[in-house]
Amino acid sequence: MKRLSMIKITLSFMVLVLAFAPQAQASEGSHDLEEQHWSFSGPFGTFDRGALQRGFQVYTQVCAACHSLKYLSYRNLSDLGYDESQIKAIAAENTAMDGPNDEGEMFERPMRPSDAFKSPYSNDQEARYANNGALPPDLSLIAKARAGGADYIYGILTGYEEPPEGVVLGNGQHWNKVMPGNKIAMAAPLSDDIVGYSDESPTTKEQYSRDVAQFLTWAAEPKMEIRKRTGIKVILFLLVFAGIMYAVKRKIWVGVKH
């Protein structure tokens, strides 16, 4: 009885700590995010390869005009289901500055799978200058760098509205119900039918947003699937091990009054 209550105290202590910790840290942003259903949610969740490829397409044709994805290399696209020759072709659509060559000159060459994704601007200053002083953030980690992750990305992309009456927007500002503070420098980037899909998926703003949110979640955490697979093995192993250790402990303690 006594022992049981001690276990309870211990466990509830841990639960309390673990439950309160992030709540206590949650930022003050009051944006109401609608929770979407994602294929990668939950302990068994995996990425939907079709959605990732479509999302990559949306990124390339829309987002990449302003946003870099610098922690990804073209070789990483094999995770999306592209084969080596497709990846080579995708990489070769862009050129990289290389060199110096034997004459000491820099030269341009087609990109290779080992190259990082091409950035739209050569530096942050250029990016700011081209965007009214606002720096379009790198998107490699955006899904982990914003509370809400994929929900947040979907929310931002579909959250553009007319500003409520009485709100005056500055030059280059737009109203977004999800953005903390509601004012965002990025104009609504997506609208229906701007990207042609090769599969049956609808070419709507919502579908684009969903796909690109999934693509960016993969980009932020490309090891998610192996992480969960490993986790299931580790936890099953540990549970069995715990059971065995409990049996060992009981066997040793049998007959000891304590």
């Binding site: 290399s73 799978p113 192993f237 049998v254 007959g255 000891v256």
Partner: protein, 190 residues
């Protein structure tokens, strides 16, 4: 405290028959699980030292051969190592082919070391097989050793015009990396 180490253990001493076997089996299982767990945790700690994905992705290099004139050699970096690429003269090829393989420490014909039809191109990892120095012989002004190839100044190994060891302490010929001709004048090493 006074270490009173004699402890009443009788409570657990059920040293008879069935109980004993079951207990032993249980302990063995527990120990096995502990060992497997520790090993599975140790493996990532060790394996993280192996080349990372970005390192592996850079493990092939393409080289344009067209600017290398006959009798010239260039050194390119592949996987952090120097690779010697030599545009051999007809005389050098002839010398290399004329050698009696039976006399060699590490018997290899010149044909084994170059691509058929591309005998003028000799591609080798420029690291002495003795203790890892970089041999001389790439520049026209370099000492080329007694066999008109490469000479390692560290411990005096002489390589011939096919990069084979002829004299000195090195045990093997200069290594030939895996490479292929993408076009007639471009090779991909690795």
């Amino acid at each position: 405290m006074s270490a009173d180490t004699t402890v009443d253990n009788s409570a657990t001493d059920d040293n008879h028959g069935d109980g004993e076997t079951r207990r032993d089996f249980l302990y063995l299982t527990a120990a096995a699980f502990g060992a497997v767990g520790a090993a599975s945790f140790a493996w990532p700690l060790v394996d993280q030292m192996n080349p990372a994905a970005d390192t592996l992705a850079l493990s092939s290099t393409e080289v344009d051969l067209s600017p290398i004139e006959e009798g010239q050699a260039i050194t390119v970096v592949w996987r952090g190592k120097p690779v010697f690429i030599r545009h051999r003269t007809a005389k050098e090829i002839e010398e290399a082919q004329a050698v009696d393989v039976a006399d060699l420490r590490d018997p290899e014909t010149d044909g084994d070391r170059v691509h058929e039809g591309q005998e003028k191109w000799l591609v080798m990892v420029g690291i002495c097989t003795h203790l890892g120095c970089v041999p001389l012989g790439q520049k026209n002004t370099d000492v080329k050793g007694e066999y008109d190839g490469w000479f390692c100044p560290c411990h005096g190994s002489h390589y011939d015009s096919s990069g084979r060891i002829r004299k000195g302490p090195a045990p093997k010929n200069l290594g030939v990396p895996e490479y292929s001709f993408v076009t007639d004048t471009t090779i991909k090493i690795g």
